[in-house]
Amino acid sequence: MVRLVVLVFFIGFLTACSGVPNRVNNDPRNQQSHEVKDIEGSEYVQQDDILRLDEGVHHPAVQILLTQAEDARQQGRYQQALSYLDRARQIQPRNSAIFYRQAWMNYQVGELQQAQQLLQRAQVFLRKSNASYDILQRRIKTLQNKIDAKDGY
């Protein structure tokens, strides 16, 4: 009887050890964007504006598109940058960080109404649970102020 119990426990132990390791879940629905690379670190400066579209840490597919968007922006191909951003949005349709970037880019090219609408979405989809909540909230507010100042909303 004792043997049987030991055996059962031993097998149980083995099963636990040989379990499939948790894979990195790449489901875009579960992945947040981080506005800055080292959110825990104390060194980073909290900018209230982004300098580059590809700032921060994002879902890998989104990151690629943000990088492409940034390249296009630097080369003055704004329309193309916007279309990369919209592709990123289609992968993560409720990612506040992407909406914020779309709004930011639209603001840069003078599409204020569009920027305004996108910023609304950035705000709506910003969750308190988001690790970058504070910084993104400030960035949204800053951009909102800029739009208001320019457009007299």
Partner: protein, 805 residues
Amino acid sequence: MTTAKKPTRANKSSTKKTATTRTTATKKKQPVSVKPKKNPRNWKQRVWYWLWRISILVILGLGVWLVYLDAQVRSQFDGNKWTLPAKVYARPLSLYPGLLLSSEQLKAELKWNDYKAVSHVVTPGTYGRDGRDWIIYRRAFSFADRNEGAVKIRLSFLTGRIDQLSIAGEPEGLVRIEPQYIGGIFPAHNEDRELIALQDVPPALVAALIAVEDRAYFDHYGISIRGILRAMKANIAAGRTVQGGSTLTQQLVKNFFLTNERSLQRKVKEAFMALLLELHYSKEEILQAYLNEVYLGQAGRRSIHGIALASRFYFAKNVQQLDLSEIALLVGMIKGPSYYNPFRKADNARSRRDVVLNVMEELKIISTAERINAQGQNILVAKSGRAGQREYPAFIQLVKRQLQTDYRLEDLQNTGLRIFTTLDPWLQHATEKSIQQHIAKLEKRAGFDKPTLEAAAVVTSVDGAEVRAIVGSRRVQYFGFNRALDAQRSIGSLAKPAVYLTALASGRYDWSSIVDDKAVSVAGQDGSLWQPKNYDKKDHGKVFMVDAMARSLNQATARLGMKLGIGQVVDTFERLGVEKNIPPYPSILLGSLSMSPLEVTQMFQTYASGGFAMKPRVIEALTTSDNKVLTSYAVEGRQAFSPELIERLRYGLQQVVVQGTGKRLAQVFNTTKIAAKTGTSDDQRDAWFAGFDDRHLGVVWLGRDDNESMPFTGASGALPIWQSIFEQSGVEPLTPLADLDWAWVNAYGHPVAQDCGGIRRMPFKSGSLIGREISCGANKATSGPRTDSVEKEKQGGGSWFDWLF
């Protein structure tokens, strides 16, 4: 030898000169010496003289005409030779680790995109699969945002998602399969073609063409005397026209510049133009034009031109992928595209192919073994329907309509624009199939012995309102009346969520509020009475507001709407994105209001998107034929309602699935996190179902074109179609838009503290419960603000409430 000849030549010319001088001399003398007599020699000279002058005139005229022809040839042949219809593409399939994707979908999309399954993946346009691992050789493609070369993609699946993705051995985060071509926007003559460069045409095809149509092609100057003589001989021998003597150049001229008229004049013109064409352009340029111009059949309204489109149309392949048998058939078909049509006249096609193969062997283009092998093959044509036709009429119509607000139709038809759309071929396919299968089932059940029912459906993405699928008729290939866009049908209970949204937005109602389902009667201003009844013809007394919605109670909804005020509800409709004028009649509360499925989609989109009013969108980007982006469209839309309010409404829509008319879906999908509403118009003339999960919104309409009633409701007629579409797309449970507060409520709808006899748990506006929850000892019957507010409203006697009795 040479020296000996010289004097002869000199003599000859001097003789000529003398003769001419003499003639001139005679001429000069004429008036004096030969005046009275008619000299026959002189008469002859006069004839010659006039003939000479006339011929100069003729030559001059001919010269002018040739210059004119030449200008015509050059102006039409240089630059844009064809009016190119705009090409419409589906959305490209983006692949990235973590993407939810079934291997069935991947396989189907590759197939529809003319990818061939092979065991060794070495050429673009092929793929191979080994269990969960796939290798796809993606073709080079000019996407709307950039050009991408051909790449070999490796990917593996794990539990329904893409697990690993790599290109050339390196891990890759994101890659796209080129989008499926889904149709064109054609000019009036409906000429469709895809252009191809000569270097992309398989040499065997060119060789076969020349062998069959014009062997001396590379030797003649546009017309071939030998060819004409040979044809004449054959025709005389046969006693009728059996052979044409036209060169490829002449055929091209005929198709390109001239009409089909059979006259000598046209023939002469053709010959001259052929010569001129050869004068200005190289053999290769002419051959390339021929390959793109040639007519190869008819597909409904479209005429198929050029070998590139024909090979896609008949074999669902790129020209480069054609095998010898297919090449021979395609070349053979030029002689008579309808007589040798492999879809309808397989025997004719087969024997023609064999003739071509024989000629190819005879000219040593192929070996005997190749010929025997190719002749042994069956004629395998693309399945008619999707692969061959591959058009999505209802979707294309919407594309055209949306584009025409920004572009001239002429430019869409002529300049070869490339239109990148939002269509998801997999969802489109699912929607088409679901409609066709279920209509057949429903008709059988109803005992209709001939096609009676019609249906339409629209599927969009919830967040961006991108139209993913659209069907305008049970005949999905039909270019006629598009019910999804143009059928104006009574929406029935699909109007109800707007009434409940108005109630929630007013701040006076929660889902737990008690509403009265007593019989209702409203007098219109003209004295007529509106007395809506419930579907089951029963009164349900006092019910929770959420149950009135979930069970689609007409009497309760009508009463509630009257209390809120018709004007308020109309206002809600407008904010939801309904663009048409809504008359402020009480009957609109129960959906006595006509809308198209697309308009209903736009209204429900606001619920699905979390409060953003958006127009369903089909265009992502528009580029010129050489890939300059003209316009790219991105998500847009104003926020019409707060996400929290929409989240509260969604609870009610989910109750339709939890306990109401859409209960069946909860079992099928094993989740209640689907928001939906059934709709049935008066006398069951229209059956509707609108619902969404976390990814897609689907609106389905079922009815009859003659607007007669049918034995189906929204739940029995339209819901099964929606269900079938979403079974194929997969359901992702809804995620909350905002945090709500939850509380137990008692039978009076009052929130009560935990363990105080609550009977249902319901959501409330965040923060609104503070101070409202009743402790266990309190008197349930008299306390609570909800009933009070309703009573107050009653006493106030505002608006339409006066009409209630």
